[in-house]
Symmetry: C2
Subunit: 363 residues, 2 copies
Amino acid sequence: MPRFQADEIRALEVSILRHLGASQEHAELVVDMLIEASLVGHDSHGVHYITRYADRIKRGIIDKKAIPEITKETVGTAIVDGHWGFGQVTAKRAMEVAIEKAGRVGVGAVGCIHCNHIGRLGAYTSMAAEKGMVGLMVVNVVHPTVQPFGGASRVLGSNPISVAAPAGNSNPFLLDFATSAVAEGKIGWAAMKGEKIPMGWIVDHEGHDTNDPLDFSLPNGSVDESEGSGRMLSFGGRDSHKAYALSLLMEVLAGILPGAGSTADKDHHLYENGVLAIVLNIQILTGLGEFAQRMDSLIQRVHKEPVRAAFQYHHIQVPGEFETANHEKRLKEGIDIPETPWKQILQLAEELGIDHDFGPLRS
Amino acid sequence: MPRFQADEIRALEVSILRHLGASQEHAELVVDMLIEASLVGHDSHGVHYITRYADRIKRGIIDKKAIPEITKETVGTAIVDGHWGFGQVTAKRAMEVAIEKAGRVGVGAVGCIHCNHIGRLGAYTSMAAEKGMVGLMVVNVVHPTVQPFGGASRVLGSNPISVAAPAGNSNPFLLDFATSAVAEGKIGWAAMKGEKIPMGWIVDHEGHDTNDPLDFSLPNGSVDESEGSGRMLSFGGRDSHKAYALSLLMEVLAGILPGAGSTADKDHHLYENGVLAIVLNIQILTGLGEFAQRMDSLIQRVHKEPVRAAFQYHHIQVPGEFETANHEKRLKEGIDIPETPWKQILQLAEELGIDHDFGPLRS
């Protein structure tokens, strides 16, 4: 499988977005987010997404020039209208505004409308943690792929949640996951690599368990929209009414509350991400020193507990350790990209007439 | 099994708390919350809890006279010190303050310290929904009963979450559940009734699946603290790293952020509930009319989707329907209380010298 250093992909992908008409600032922001997702191990949201964004720019779904705008505001809340620009630009602005408000009044809640795909949520919630605050973000993904508890049809999106919080000497806490069994892109990623997936992620169109990603995705990694294709399950599997309830909650919090709409609303665009960001100011609520110390105590306690014989790790994991470990490793060793998406990226670069150093030997 | 109308239990239980020294206002509040929990079908948090509270009052864990106090405050946030009074009194005050703040600045975030067991979270979040707001509450339960993902020991509490939101013509949305497979009390409830529990709720002390509640609870419904007792699983089962992450999140949000502390902190009292309430003002964020209409659309869509052949309901459920259906039924038909807790309640009443109409025929 082709492997690249983050920096060489960055240059190529920034160039792609620049050729498509994005500003240098926006191009760098979007590409940095994709690279970060690949580095931390969430390939589903990583560098290969550039071809999808390019396609959406060409089709007018992403307005490459749009600047987000605050359309409603109080000292504690705001609505950011993304004007269909890059989702990353909109969501980053929303998180910045929420951090600013929490800085002043202890809490900030900011929703987004007209927002495209924002990528990995942890990138935004970590912005708050880096400022010594707790950051929460929820998203409703309009594109329905997940069957509800007791159901037999695609109703809900993968509807993710992320919460980040700083610690003292320990790795920061970073919860970041889809309320579906996995992010949709992880099935597509397996399809692109020609690999099987674990049982429990999807069912086929008749509702039977399957480990074949092609029951859900096309070989190019996108979702199979044809009649005979399968459905994702909520995390915890088909009997997990609680994960289903959380998925539906994201429709309420991220979709309906900011005014973006839910999966049931026709004005809610197929590629739209409804977004709600909530930031809580640790210093105002309790005090940063005490918070950091208690976080370290909790994490140390969890690390000391016994693990089951068959467990894959030496100690019980705290959310965020997966990402940190991957980041260290991949920054050194590089990012793997399967043949299919890599060819798509090179093809796009060639279409745009971009010079690059990736000769046939590298691809 | 003994069955009673809500009103007759209310009078008896209010009298019990009055005899134990609680004010009329606090006694009514606590008992109303317990009765409401029984009515909506969450017996685990229902009327039998009165005997536990009586025990905690006698042992000085609950200060029956304490009045909660705001110790820190901004326009958007507050910390409510419960001074170890009734948890219900503290949590209700916290939610009232959060609603008031959200009314003014769009969002309110209020944490509790020195707070006893607050009971069913949905009672508080529904207060916000009734005011046309979205109410969220999370709790960290110090008492460790749940094994972490990959673990083999009791580390985390049942750490529940609730979110309530109003709808238009539909039943209000009410998500209210433990991040453990079930609320601890549901296992105790089965133990008291002498019934088996579904597989997947607990494992025995060696980590094997079991459907015997006595592997976790004592016959009187309380948690078995002895060496050879089992552990609860997170919802979604032993491989559900996402539910485990949510459980740990409640330690951060509800325990550490308000200053109550986590399961790892020695100053965090065994019966303490760390609490965080967040209220979001719908009218300020998007507009109540639009919100209600979109909620109805979402709920109607979910109700129209096909159900699996073996599904126990005629339509896919929206969180809150379970509670509403039970409430209607039990308000008419009465509340069932198993022999064991009912005898405990009558014994308590007799100890306190309370006259009651419940003759031997009724018990």
